[in-house]
């Protein structure tokens, strides 16, 4: 929901919006999250929150402003409304209290992957996390293990470098003849196999949650390995390209750095079974190198 154009004095008008598009809190995804216990904290009683304000504590840092060079937390009281997400809350704070509050966001529907924050001690996607599901006050910080550029904005260069290391694009020597208008088809079974891995939105939450990636800057990280899985498991690529991909992955700082903490799988906002994919690539790497003669 957009809070940009609304006046803060009319929270009542936001109850039960007519437009079905606005009923964010009633989407099946949210129901599933609640049923599956995905949110591991004790949640505030929803009825208590109606018409109230929520306290958010936001990490502030700006190297160019004298009194923000030392990182600190700023507190904002944001009027709660049904369906409010963490992103809505920080947007409200920015629009109404402090226009210098800086964070990345774009699509606001968990597709662009810009707004991964460290909310109450867990990497979450700001636009996909309901304020009502969180413990209060809500503490919002930039992603850990990445350099903070300003406020909630972290330097993603290293993450993107690791993503590009695995050559995240389809490569095939023998593409079908374009003059025949022939399609390069993938079998349904193969599509099912790579389906979850294609959902990655490059938000960097997994990489930030990974202890190994924090201690080893050369480790590819869960997101990059998942990206490699998406192409290595694609049947349309030739065997020699798959071997080339596995050669990248089986290096010292590739798949073997994973110690199956499941941290990445816990935080992934798109529910990608990252650990499962990393483990499968480990088995592929072993199979490739195991010789009994």
């Amino acid at each position: 929901m957009s809070t940009q154009q609304q006046e803060p004095e009319q929270p009542e008008s936001q109850e039960a919006p007519e437009d079905p598009e606005m009923r964010g809190a009633e989407s099946p995804v949210d129901e599933r999250e609640k049923a599956g216990g995905d949110i591991d904290q004790t949640t505030a009683d929803r009825s208590e929150l109606e018409g109230e304000t929520i306290l958010i504590k936001v990490f502030r840092y700006d190297p160019e402003v004298a009194d923000k060079q030392e990182p600190r937390f700023d507190e904002f009281h944001v009027p709660f409304e049904k369906g409010m997400t963490v992103l809505d809350a920080v947007m409200y704070a920015r629009d109404n209290y402090d226009s210098s509050l800086t964070f990345r966001h774009s699509c606001r529907q968990a597709v662009c992957g810009s707004d991964a924050f460290f909310v109450n001690g867990k990497q979450r996607l700001g636009c996909k996390t309901q304020m009502a599901d969180l413990e209060h006050p809500v503490r919002i910080e930039p992603l850990p293990h990445q350099e903070v550029v300003k406020d909630l904005v972290v330097d993603m260069d290293h993450f993107y470098d690791q993503m590009h290391t695995v050559e995240p694009y389809f490569q095939s020597e023998d593409t079908p003849d374009a003059s025949d208008l022939e399609e390069q088809r993938q079998s349904r079974e193969n599509r099912e196999k790579v389906k979850m891995s294609t959902r990655c939105i490059w938000c960097g939450a997994c990489m930030s949650s990974c202890n190994i990636a924090a201690g080893d800057n050369e480790y590819l990280g869960p997101a990059a390995i998942n990206k490699a899985y998406r192409f290595a498991m694609d049947d349309r690529e030739d065997a020699d390209i798959k071997e080339h991909r596995l050669r990248i992955l089986e290096q010292e700082h590739g798949v073997w750095r994973c110690q199956t903490q499941f941290s990445c799988t816990e935080v992934c906002p798109k529910d990608i079974p990252l650990t499962e994919h990393i483990q499968e690539l480990k088995r592929e790497a072993v199979k490739k190198n195991l010789k009994f003669w």
Binding site: P63, E64, T260, T275
Partner: protein, 131 residues
């Protein structure tokens, strides 16, 4: 880009209350692994008393076993070894890609089994020792 701020290992140890099952399993597995390596050295030290003769070995063992603290440590050693074995089996299943959805449950199961086996072993280990 101008200057940026490195927050260091911000979430790592101070936030232990927010660790998930897989994280605890990893920490316990590392910890028990180091404990077992440490035990191996004392084990070799005790065994090598047999080099000076059978009596020396018997005396060493009897002397150690008469100590209350050694009996307590033996219970601890069993707990450490049992957890390491059970979690090792869990990790084996994870490596084989079996039951990854239930990895947290298998961790809790290995904790509970460790506790049961450890408690059940107490009468045996503590038999005939006084403070």
């Amino acid at each position: 880009m101008s200057q940026s701020y490195n927050r260091g290992l911000i979430e790592d140890f101070g936030r232990w209350k927010e660790f998930s099952a897989g994280m605890w399993a990893w920490i316990f597995h590392k910890f028990t692994g180091w404990m077992l390596i440490g035990y191996l050295f004392t084990h070799i030290a005790v065994l090598s008393s047999a080099l000076t003769g059978p009596e020396a070995y018997t005396n060493t063992i009897q002397g150690l076993e008469s100590l209350f603290i050694v009996r307590v440590l033996e219970v601890g050693l069993l707990a450490v070894a049992v957890f390491h074995i059970l979690n090792g089996l869990r990790l084996l299943m994870v490596d084989l890609g079996v039951g990854l959805d239930a990895q947290d449950k298998s961790f809790y199961a290995s904790l509970v089994l460790t506790a049961i086996i450890t408690i059940a072993s107490v009468p045996t280990f503590m038999d005939g020792v006084t403070l």
